[in-house]
Each structure stands twice: as structure tokens, then as C-alpha cells.
């Protein structure tokens, strides 16, 4: 027997729609609470629909934005309802994106600052050239023929 109890008595009527939408056969309007969905998220979600819908933002009340979508092509009530659902999902995606952006801003700024204002006095190309020079000097000091230098020598020697 499991000790976990699950409440299953919540009636459907008790569910509250946080997002309400209206449709008139040609367009759908979704009322969005700015306290829950920041304006940046609303812009981000609405912008994703401009290629297939005519989008209009309306200030329906204080801290409330009504996003109206009118498909550019023919539509029907089922398609409009699906569009409203898609917009609601996209709003959630955008809220998450905004929050992640905010929470990682400091670390991103830190890495950008470090990349731009590095204290290194020599560029990486200079360092690589210096390493190559040192390798060549080391070879000269030893004066030992190495296989990777051989082809040119062999080609020259083979002709004689």
C-alpha cells in the first residue's frame, strides 16, 4: 500500500482560466495579465505570429494587454481556438526565456567583460608565432634530421 494520497476531487468548474480569449469567426483576442507575463514576453510571443497573422496589441485595462490575432488566410473557429492555445504556450516559452535571460545576465556580462578587457599583453597569434620560432630554434640546436623535414631533402637528394 502506498502512503501517498492524491486529491482527485477537484471539479472542472473549480479550474480558473487565467487566460481568457474571445473569437468572432475572423480573429481571436487573448487577454494577458502583465503581472504574470512581462511585456517583453508578450512582445516576443506576438512577434512570432506576424508572418501568418495580423497582430494588434490593445491596452484593455491597467496591467492588461489584449493580443488580437487575425489570420492572413481563411480561418474557422477551430483554427482560431488552436491559435489562441498556441499563443498561450508561446507566452509561457517567452516568460521562461526572459527569466533565464535575467538570471544569467550577470555571468554573461562577466564573460563579455573578461573577453573584451583581458589583461594579456600579447595576442594569441603572437604567442603562437613565438612558440613556432622556439620550436625551430630547438631543432636547429639539435641538428637532427626529422622525418617531417625529409620529403624536401629526399626530393632534392633523389634527383642527384
Amino acid at each position: 500500500m502506498s502512503d501517498v494520497s492524491v486529491e482527485t476531487s477537484t471539479p472542472a468548474e473549480a479550474l480558473v482560466d487565467e487566460l481568457t480569449w474571445l473569437e468572432d469567426g475572423r480573429r481571436v483576442a487573448l487577454r494577458v495579465d502583465e503581472e504574470l507575463y512581462p511585456l517583453d514576453a508578450i512582445y516576443g510571443a506576438a512577434y512570432l505570429f506576424v508572418d501568418r497573422c495580423w497582430v494588434y496589441l490593445h491596452r484593455s485595462a491597467d496591467k492588461q494587454v489584449e493580443v488580437r490575432l487575425k489570420p492572413k488566410g481563411p480561418t474557422d473557429p477551430a483554427a482560431l481556438e488552436a491559435l489562441a492555445g498556441e499563443l498561450a504556450n508561446e507566452l509561457l516559452n517567452q516568460v521562461l526565456r526572459v527569466r533565464i535571460g535575467d538570471s544569467t545576465r550577470k555571468i554573461r556580462e562577466y564573460y563579455m567583460a573578461r573577453a573584451f578587457f583581458s589583461t594579456s599583453t600579447r595576442s594569441s597569434i603572437d604567442q603562437l608565432l613565438a612558440e613556432l620560432d622556439q620550436e625551430e630554434l630547438a631543432q636547429d640546436d639539435l641538428e637532427i634530421s626529422v622525418p617531417w623535414d625529409a620529403p624536401a631533402e629526399r626530393e632534392g637528394g633523389g634527383g642527384s
Binding site: D40, Y43, V50, Y56, L57, H58, E109, M112
Partner: protein, 85 residues
Amino acid sequence: MAPEVSLHRSLYDDGAVEAVASQYAGVARVTVLPSEHELTVRFEQVDPDVADVLVDHFCNHVLAETVVRRNQAEATLRGDGGGTT
């Protein structure tokens, strides 16, 4: 009656509305009438070929321009903030 649309100033950037309005001079005479909370955009002498989609097209264009300008402004602010630390 000339078609017009009201754009709330808290949602649409004033500069974006003006900039986009100037681009529609070829298809209509566009006038932007500001009030405290809204910009009313009036379209007169509309080219009949585009009359049915003109206002909708204009709204999409202003929304896109507003988003672009907000992103640019935020990027600029972030750049300034990074330089002060």
C-alpha cells in the same frame, strides 16, 4: 470615412510609429495624431489596391519596429551597464 487605428503609447513606440508612417507615403496620406495615452493614425487617399490590408499591415509593421527598437535600447543599456562595473 478615412480608416484609422489607435495605438496605445505604452505598447507601441512613438518613434516606431512615426518611422513606419513615413514609409507608407506611397500608398496613402498618413497622419499621426498624438494624445496623452494613444497615437491615432489616420489613412487618407488610400491606394485602392491595398485598402483592405493597409491598416493591418501597418500595425504588424509598427509592432515589428517597436520590438526591434526595444531590443536595441536594451542592448545599449546592457553595454553601458557593463562598462560601469
